[in-house]
Symmetry: D2
Subunit: 245 residues, 4 copies
């Protein structure tokens, strides 16, 4: 694993450009806010956005990315299939980590990796969310209190149509009556994926210290493990004598 970890923060970066109230919250985009924090954590961070050539995710960029963070909402369909495939291979074959934020539950890359619809319930009512740690031994819980609060947020509610997480770290309570599996770990191929719920564009959620703490922890957890390169396919030669036939 590279030291420091090389992180690429990807954001479709449309809301912040189109709406002044959002730009006021995130003058450098949500990716900018997240990147600034991760740099303060000592990581080697770059950003990439939808409108850049190849969405900023060239072969060279991905080859130098240990963990990719993904935020999308309005334009999932505008992400080119070729880039989705490139990221997919980076995760499954290359071992790149992927941290999927909030509305990116519906991103093409997350749906591809999960194999389910990734659908959920939602409501925009500025309600309160309280996020509980249910796996205190997990590295993504490092430095967190037992729970933390987001004063105003968009609600996401169950059923969240994902595979049962390989580890469930966080569950959200919502003022309006719903719950949600908000911090979910998945192992896929040689890569690791963390889905993290918080992050609506109209609230300053990516300035929240505990939210940022979770993202930094997730980046470290999702870093490439350095496990074996797998050889698939035809193995004509047995490893042992097949004496009996």
């Amino acid at each position: 694993m590279a030291d420091p970890l090389r992180v690429t923060v990807w954001n479709e970066y449309l809301h912040e450009v189109a709406e002044e109230t959002i730009a006021a919250i995130y003058p450098d985009g949500m990716h900018g806010a997240i990147a600034a924090f991760l740099r303060r954590e000592g990581l080697d961070v770059r950003t990439a956005t939808l409108e850049e050539p190849e969405h900023g995710l060239t072969e060279a960029v991905l080859a130098n990315t240990d963990v990719l963070i993904w935020w999308g909402h309005l334009a999932h369909d505008r992400v080119a299939g070729e880039i989705v495939e490139r990221v997919y291979q980076g995760v499954v074959a290359g071992g790149m980590g992927l941290v999927v934020l909030h509305s990116a539950h519906f991103s093409r890359i997350f749906k591809r990796l999960m194999g389910t619809t990734c659908n959920l319930k939602w409501r925009e009512a500025g309600e309160k969310e309280r996020i509980w740690v249910v796996a205190p031994a997990h590295p993504i819980a490092a430095g967190l209190p037992e729970w933390f609060e987001i004063p105003q947020t968009e609600m996401y509610g169950e059923h969240f149509d994902i595979p049962e997480p390989d580890q469930l770290v966080l569950i959200s309570w919502f003022e309006g009556g719903e719950i949600f599996r908000s911090g979910c770990c998945f192992y896929r191929g040689r890569g690791k994926i963390f889905y993290f719920r918080p992050g609506h564009e109209t609230y300053p959620i990516y300035h929240h210290p505990h939210v940022l703490r979770v993202i930094a922890n997730a980046v470290r957890w999702a870093a490439p493990a350095g496990g074996p390169i797998v050889n698939f396919g035809h193995r004509p030669q047995p490893l042992e004598d097949i004496g009996s036939n």
Copy 2:
């Protein structure tokens, strides 16, 4: 859940037509052998094959199928995308069970549901396989001994690129030195999927009593649960007062 369970056994049915030695083992096709056994178990069984219109998987057939069994090998790419999508919706939204056999690890429907490459190692050397039960409390282990043997089989070896199974029931030992997670349960959406490794076309594996026992058990395990229909999407109305805003 319907009683008796309604099972559709799908087979691409190409090997048995093309090769006499295989036809000799499976005069009614592999689907025929499996269907005959399941009928003796009291299930309501039909079959469907690749060359039938809509591959035999019309809307009407799927609407009357509790569990679909899938065998494919040569012609994964000839299965129409529309039918894959139909089966996918049947599983994830409709709760239909899916039992995926042997070389169908590379079927479009299984890869779609897993989100991984589903790749593996393989070798055709007629070697011995011994299948061990590692989850004796699981209903798919009903009526099995601690292990059973397949005298001659194609080898499948790890790493098998699937998500970690929600339950791992069976692990195979191979004479040539490999191991394999051979009986794997997955929950996806409202449906359940069981991957079962045995089943090469050139050996009489679907006449093996323990192999058939596992398939029958898997059908019962994968039967629709009758859980809630999920309402996704916008929930403008909170379930509780949002008093603080």
Copy 3:
């Protein structure tokens, strides 16, 4: 598996005897209310309580029990170690199912099987609980709506110190701000265990149709699977030649 399933409902049966208001809710004890429902479901049900000889759990009773339901609160320490061991062996070696209710999270048998402290947060404030299905494909969700409500209950809050469930079926939302993993499946040895949170003695929770539905579903899920009897210990004779040494 026996047909019909043979269920023993165990209750310490102290609250109902000691307090008139509780006796008014459960004139036949909580075990009586649960047993009456399960009999209407067609199961073969008996009950057992703390004050009976051997707590009503003789060798003969357990030998004729497919699934044991357990409710305890005041007197966990009065359950004899020998009986705990008998139940333990019944589950792990014998494959008997165990459904653990509410305050029995602190029962000796549950703590023994979990290996953790099984501790949690709690509050008695008559608050509302909403129970969400997060595994709609699971048989314990059969016949349930997406969520159901208990108007007044004791709160249990995370962190609940259990091993991560083998399947998580239900999560509770509480009016006072907490969440809880309320329906948890565990495989242990040849047996299956379901922990189900609802059930305080001072509310008519075991008259609630959805609560009773979950209990009946859990009984069916936890029924002995009929998997292999496991032979442990010394296997002097290899199954294959050890040719190389």
Copy 4:
């Protein structure tokens, strides 16, 4: 988490003292061989053995241990209950990591944490073991090939009566025909536990570079996460108004 990690290698240290052939393989004990390797990895390592006062596991030692490695075989029953309890609290409440080796599957601490019998099959025939990575994304697989071989070993065979691991990293193939889940991760309370199968006293297994690599990886994986201290018990004050009652 301390830097460098503070590791205590515990060994009952009876075989090496009693038998010359074993002493020849491990002149400083198995703990000595493991400790020497971990020191070369830059960790802060001490050792402790059965015959020391309090088995070398005083309060002070455990308070300064991030990860405890445990090897036992002949004398599980001679480990004092008080020390078992101390280690248990260190893991579950304190977040100390625990790496359990080989025959310590039957140690009191492992059985206590698992809640199952931890029984298995075994055979001493000097047969070959081949260990396969089935979770290439997992940090415990770092630096490993797809599989590695132990030329002569004691066999452990399934069924291994443990809870289904939270992650299964390694599966063993044995020359004599068995398989075994050899690298198993468990989260318990605030702590993490890794069970690793290899390690019989009569073979130089703790000199094997891949075996040592797994142990070092497991130590790093099991290191305390720094997650929240959990407050259990009575929470009289709700976090939210309970307005409706």
